[in-house]
């Protein structure tokens, strides 16, 4: 376990590692993360040379192949942190946060120069909800989604990073209509390459999850990783189920239509005060 930096002042500037999947497939999750951070008055920096943390290779045993990606991550983010252009790195993903703050260190074990910088980055790397709760102690504006919402705890977030109370408390205070499901901490069956290599098991596990989701009557199942979300959403859609899988950033950043708008600057975010509690909208979802 790495020791996280204790900030004397809440950080004002963070570097966003948006993750490759969010970049390419789910930009709305990245935008939601930016919105949530900017609403808290935090300036977001996006280093454009960022790519992928290397998790797909590492998890499948291709450690040598993952090393250049670990180095690349250091090359991109270390200068920002070292120069103070950003005080922390924030990621909307529990598994990529695990990769960059735990497994990169293992990969770079025999490379002292990179290892040292990787350790420095690990100390200031935060998963989005962890950053909002533990570092910023944020109170978010009220969120608004139609129907019931349930939280699914993704495995790396829960068991590698031990982050669970943070997303749950954000959701509990969000004003969303939260419900509980049995076995919310059970793996959904994604598992990276596992989902393809062991498709029948992956799908069977996913279906077991869908049964729990359905039983609690949720309209949205939210989580902190888009990879698990892709797996569950893929199943939900193929089976024409009512429920939708959604990243927690999107759920937390969902606003009453009247309160919508792009949160380009921290100043703009003031327009939506925590005290302003709009009526929850009841029309069809955006998915």
């Amino acid at each position: 376990m790495q020791h996280k930096k204790q900030f004397e002042q809440p950080p004002r500037r963070v570097a966003l590692f948006v993750t490759c999947m969010v970049d390419m497939i789910y930009p709305q999750v990245g935008r939601a993360a930016v919105q949530l951070l900017e609403e808290q008055g935090v300036e977001v920096v996006f280093p454009e040379d960022q790519t992928c943390c290397g998790q797909p290779a590492f998890n499948s045993g291709y450690h040598d192949e993952a090393v250049p990606l670990a180095r690349h991550f250091v090359d991109v983010f270390h200068p920002l942190i070292a120069s103070g252009q950003a005080e922390a790195i924030v990621l909307p993903s529990g598994s990529c946060a695990t990769m960059t703050s735990h497994f990169h260190l293992e990969l770079l074990e025999n490379d002292p120069a990179y290892l040292k910088r990787s350790e420095e980055l690990a100390a200031v790397t935060f998963e989005l909800t962890e950053f909002l709760v533990d570092v910023l102690e944020a109170r978010l504006p009220e969120a608004s989604l139609p129907g019931k919402v349930v939280y699914h705890a993704c495995c790396h977030l829960l068991r590698e990073l031990h982050i669970d109370a943070q997303p749950r408390s954000l959701l509990a205070e969000s004003g969303l209509d939260m419900v509980d499901m049995a076995g919310s901490d059970e793996c959904c069956g994604f598992g990276g390459l596992f989902a393809v290599k062991n498709e029948p098991i992956s799908v069977a596990m996913g279906n077991a999850k869908l049964t729990s989701i359905e039983a609690c009557g949720a309209d949205h199942v939210v989580m902190c990783d888009v990879s698990c979300m892709t797996h569950l959403q893929g199943l939900l859609q193929r089976q024409d189920r009512r429920c939708r899988a959604m990243h927690i950033a999107e759920a937390l950043a969902s606003r009453h239509p009247k309160a919508k708008g792009e949160f380009n600057t921290p100043a703009q975010s003031k327009a939506l005060d925590v005290g302003d509690r709009p009526r929850r909208w009841q029309d069809v979802g955006t998915n």
Partner: protein, 478 residues
């Protein structure tokens, strides 16, 4: 039998057979969740984390001092009048036990539950010599009747519903069908009583053995272990070398951890401890006591950086929380040991890496096993290391390697990465026929994804494109 998984078949076939069974996952989920809950309740009443830390310390200490402890153990067994046999591998263990049986004119062996003898397929070996082997643990007895292998380290017959057992008893014992577990149990008891009385040799495994006293301990609930170790003339205990604990105090620590983690019991009904053959003043007990100390790959595991897996006390807790295990059952793993620990040690024991190369990948690395393990064995870490070994040993498909190399090459160069991202976007849009629908079919090797799941289209505007536009600066041409 309809629910059979052919353990000799390739992994993919076993998986197909498992998931095609409409009730298997339900049966296993219910049973394992029950065991998981029992464990939770029984650990709630004591300082569970402290127990785990003490266990880990004790096991680490034992492994560090294994050669010396083994010698001490042997010395003490001999002092008590028993004999110790060292077996390098499964063949040697089988040969030793076979010879012992021949020396003593053994025609019938009664056995108590033992994973070590399953590991070396002892029954086959003895039966080939014309010796009858009777499993006397109820679960193992059922498994033997069904001609299967155990599907769980602790509960060998966990995959069977009671009606399946009733069918089996009807077929093999001509017993009228009943769903009353007590009646089925009573019937097995009648059958087994005869066997105990007529057996020449008792064979058991060993839950732990105490170096300081030369004592073999077996933990059971049915009393069959006590009979196996005391009734027949000769008693043979088969144990992996890692089953040793230094002192009686350590034995009770492990006992506590084992019973609570395995079944959630504070104590089991029996704890049978054998330190030697019957002495002059004893009224019962075996005339001869033998211990087979089996390596079968264990020293190599210790040397190759997998020593942590030898801390395992075979409690089955990792199986009981494993979502993969629930879907494919123990038989899906195709080996004596199943679940997360089985996926780690099956390829390592007896060097069956290639035959078992799918097992390290049969995990999502969700980590539930590590959290459940009473010795805090980092099972996901070991699975990752095994994957790395497989990749380094060039045991994985060349296409997969090339794909990973290609991926790494692209993703470590931002321009190439952006280019590929754009190509992927065009690709998915082409595949979708320029519609907005999700993809229902992807080309190989990703076709496995879309067999039962949709795949999303790449976004029309990537995050970085949005960012570039928003910040109003001219970013790299995207």
């Amino acid at each position: 039998m309809r629910s059979r998984i052919d353990i000799e078949a390739p992994f993919k076939t076993r998986v197909k057979q498992a998931v095609a069974n409409p009730t298997l996952a339900d049966t296993l989920t219910r049973a394992t969740l029950h065991l998981k809950e029992q464990k939770r309740l029984s650990l709630e009443e004591l300082e569970a984390q402290r127990l785990r830390d003490q266990m880990r310390q004790m096991k680490a200490h034992t492994l560090r001092n294994l050669p010396e402890l083994l010698e001490r153990f042997e010395h003490n067994v001999v002092m008590n009048g028993g004999r110790v046999h060292w077996a390098e591998d499964a063949d040697e263990a089988n040969r030793i036990i076979g010879e012992l049986a021949e020396q003593h004119d053994v025609r019938k062996v009664v056995k108590s539950k033992s994973m070590a003898t399953e590991e070396i397929h002892l029954n086959h070996h003895l039966e080939a010599k014309g010796i009858t082997c009777v499993e006397t643990d109820l679960g193992e007895y059922i498994i033997q009747l069904a001609e299967e292998i155990p599907s769980h380290i602790v509960a060998p017959v966990i995959h069977k519903r009671i009606d399946e057992i009733s069918d089996l008893f009807a077929e093999k014992l001509s017993m009228p069908r009943t769903l009353d577990p007590q009646a089925l149990c009573a019937r097995a008891r009648v059958e087994l009583r005869q066997e105990f009385l007529s057996a020449d040799m008792g064979i058991s495994g060993c839950n732990f053995a105490i170096a300081d006293t030369g004592t073999v301990c077996i933990v059971t609930n049915e009393g069959n272990g006590r009979m196996v170790s005391t009734l027949p003339r000769v008693y043979v205990a088969v144990m992996g070398i890692e089953k040793l604990v230094p002192t009686p105090q350590d034995a009770f620590l492990q006992y506590q951890s084992l019973t609570r983690s395995a079944t959630g019991q504070r104590v089991t009904v029996y704890l049978s401890m054998t330190s030697g053959p019957k002495r002059l003043e004893d009224v019962d007990g075996p005339e001869e006591f033998h211990v087979v100390l089996m390596d079968n790959g264990r020293s190599r595991m210790l040397a190759d950086g997998y020593g942590e897996s030898l801390m395992c006390i075979r409690c089955g807790a990792c199986l009981n929380v494993c979502p993969v295990y629930r879907q494919i059952s123990g038989h899906g793993y195709g080996n004596t040991y199943s679940g997360p620990i089985g996926a780690v040690i099956s390829p390592l024991l007896s060097e069956e890496m290639v035959r078992n190369k799918d097992l390290p990948y049969a995990s999502t690395l969700c980590g539930a096993c590590r959290d459940a393990c009473p010795v805090q064995i980092d099972l996901p870490k070991m699975l990752l290391n095994l994957r790395h070994d497989l990749v380094s040993g060039k045991h994985m498909p060349g296409a997969e390697r090339r794909a990973m190399q290609g991926f790494a090459g692209v993703a470590s160069r931002p321009a190439a990465y952006r280019g590929t991202a754009r190509a992927a976007r065009t690709g998915t849009r082409l595949l979708s026929g320029f519609g907005d629908r999700n993809l229902r079919r992807l080309p190989p090797p990703l076709h496995h994804w879309t067999r039962q799941r949709d795949f999303p289209l790449m976004a029309k505007q990537s995050f970085r494109e949005w960012w570039t536009k928003r910040s109003g600066t001219r970013g790299p041409a995207t």
